[in-house]
């Protein structure tokens, strides 16, 4: 049984999973994430190794093939769910921000908000 290690994802974890929607090898992940985020998010090699290792044991990603020691990975269904969960959470955060600071409330959220009150 996978440990309940990751309730939420850090930016680096989020981008690794995002990047692995297409099969990709470890070394390339560092480059792609850096490009995706215009160098805002960089993943150190040590952290990359640890995260990939943990993700494999959590079942978020799976190793697809090894070529000349180059290991490639791709996201699994569990990983996709995790990514989706994180996306919804982030979305909820921005929505709440808008509700409580700018007063911009979309109808759906207004209902929930009023009901909760």
């Amino acid at each position: 049984m996978p440990r309940e290690k990751y309730q939420t994802l850090t930016e680096q974890m989020f981008y690794i999973l995002l990047c692995l929607q297409n099969e990709c090898c470890g070394v390339d992940i560092m480059k792609i994430v850096s490009e995706m985020t215009q160098q805002r998010v960089t993943i150190g090699p040590g952290t990359l190794y640890t995260l990939l290792d943990n993700f494999v044991s959590q079942g978020f990603i799976t190793q697809t093939n090894i070529e000349n020691r180059k290991k490639s990975y791709v996201i699994t269904e569990t990983g996709k769910e995790m990514l989706e969960k994180e996306y919804n959470r982030l979305h909820k955060l921005t929505d709440d921000y808008e509700t409580f600071t700018r007063g911009v409330v979309d109808e759906n959220h207004k209902k929930t908000y009023v009901n909760e009150l």
């Binding site: 850090t10 680096q12 470890g26 070394v27 560092m30 480059k31 960089t42 993943i43 150190g44 090699p45 040590g46 952290t47 990359l48 190794y49 640890t50 995260l51 290792d53 943990n54 020691r69 180059k70 290991k71």
Partner: protein, 467 residues
């Protein structure tokens, strides 16, 4: 390329300090090439601006014949980020980069901390705990010997030094472990709050380590000097040689098997078994050597030797000393015409107890003239006096020897005791006395109880009641 070795007394978990030290060395033109437990090899080059990073990799091990596949992947990631693998020792991995601003090796403090902790639990913590157990066991044995023979123990500097050494090592190991766990807990808290790992590079701790090492080396140095001045060179050579021998066998085996590309598991089993086997064989060798060549004690005092026939065909060499001792058998029993007496004094002064031992002994023989032995103890603390008195007056379970309290007026004592045996015709005193004074305790072992006249001689010769 010229290389040089440097002693690196770094705790396994001082990664920050190691990085700084290596960067400092590189600036001076010393570039790390290989690392070992203490001696690290450096290449002599032009001064360079290198950045170092020290990380831990769970699969790393001194027994691995070559980096594991996962480790290779790890190196590849590092290389792609501009970090070149330099060397490893157990789980510790060192990378360097000549880039001016190389990317951070670890970019997630929580993962970094958990990884360090995972590796530390596997090697650092285990080895510290193992050493703690070994030294606790040794300390227990020493304490046991202190309990059995407190007087001898407290008047022996070497015994006290060994006890102090074990005790301090245990304290130090506990301190390092507690320190590590405190660092881990604090870092965990900090990371959970979104902060970074607490810096474990701490000047006070470094000074503490240095002071402790100096203390430990002086203790070991003292013990070696003591061995050198008190025992034969044979024993010294045997006991000093064992450590380098064990290290040589263990490392030799690991290196050799590694070169033959033997698996880590087989290497570990073979090398550890070989080490244990060497230990057992060496112990056997020591016992054999002692039984064959009986290493004599070294002595700076003048003596003559006599070859004494113990029984048909078996002679033993006896040393006859002629030290000055306060009371002799001649003082007590009148002139004795005997040329094989050995008069010997031994003095030992520890911070707790001063001991003077005097003896007039002879080789074993029939119808022999009397022997005499006595010790004068001067305890430096009241509690030591109490320990010595209760030790000397202790009765053994296995002997029917009993203790009689004597009148203090006889020897002008605070307390006085004589040992006797219960015989059918009444108490038979053995001639062994324990005399307790304010500042000293005298333990006399004569062959027969003293007459009034002899008591006066003892009192005057040992300056009792005349201070």
């Amino acid at each position: 390329m010229k290389t040089t070795k440097r002693l690196m007394l770094m705790n396994y978990n001082y990664y920050k300090e190691i990085e700084q030290k290596l960067e400092h060395y590189a600036k001076k033109g010393l570039v790390l090439e290989k690392m070992g437990p203490y001696l690290w090899t450096f290449k002599k080059t032009e001064p360079q601006n290198l950045k170092y990073t020290v990380t831990y990799f769970a699969e790393g091990s001194v027994f691995n014949p070559h980096p594991t596949d996962n480790q290779q992947t790890y190196f590849d990631y590092a290389k792609a980020a501009g970090w070149d693998f330099v060397c490893e020792y157990n789980q510790m991995q060192i990378f360097s980069s000549s880039l001016e601003n190389p990317p951070e090796f670890e970019t997630d403090e929580k993962e970094k901390l958990e990884n360090i902790h995972k590796c530390m639990k596997k090697s650092f913590v285990v080895s510290q705990l193992l050493m703690l157990v070994v030294f606790a066991l040794n300390l227990f044995l020493r304490l046991n010997s202190l309990e059995r023979n407190p007087t001898d123990f407290l008047s022996s500097n070497i015994d006290l030094a060994i006890l102090l050494m074990f005790f301090s090592i245990i304290l130090y190991l506990s301190y390092t472990l507690i320190n590590y766990y405190m660092w881990y807990k604090k870092s965990q808290k900090s990371v959970a709050m979104g902060g970074s790992i607490i810096d474990n590079f701490n000047k006070t701790r470094r000074y503490f380590d240095i002071v402790y090492l100096i203390f430990l080396f002086s203790l070991v140095g003292y013990m070696l000097i003591h061995l050198l001045t008190n025992t034969g060179f044979g024993i010294i050579a045997l006991s000093v040689a064992q450590l380098p021998l064990f290290v040589l066998v263990f490392w030799g085996s690991i290196t050799l098997l590694k070169r033959r590309k033997i698996s880590a598991k087989a290497n570990r089993i073979i090398s550890i078994s070989l080490l244990i086997l060497t230990g057992v064989l060496y112990l056997g060798f020591i016992f054999y050597s002692i039984s064959q060549f009986s290493f004599p004690e070294r002595s700076n005092k003048p003596y003559t030797t006599v070859d004494w026939e113990m029984y048909e065909g078996m002679t033993r060499e006896y040393r006859l000393y002629s030290d000055k001792i306060p009371i002799t058998c001649e003082d007590l029993y009148g002139n004795i015409d005997f040329e094989y007496y050995s008069y010997e004094t031994e003095e030992e002064d520890t911070p707790l107890l001063h001991k003077d031992h005097y003896s007039q002994t002879r080789p074993p023989m029939k119808n022999a003239p009397p022997e005499l032995e006595y010790s004068i103890y001067k305890p430096k603390f009241e509690f030591v006096k109490n320990i010595v008195v209760s030790d000397l007056t202790k009765l053994d379970d296995w002997s029917d020897r009993k203790l009689e309290t004597l009148d203090n007026a006889i020897f002008s004592t605070e307390e006085a005791y004589a040992f006797y045996y219960e015989e059918p015709n009444g108490k038979q005193f053995s001639g062994e006395y324990i005399l307790v004074f304010t500042d000293k305790i005298i333990h006399i072992d004569a062959e027969s109880p003293f007459t009034d006249e002899q008591i006066e001689i003892v009192k005057s010769k040992l300056l009792i009641g005349q201070q």
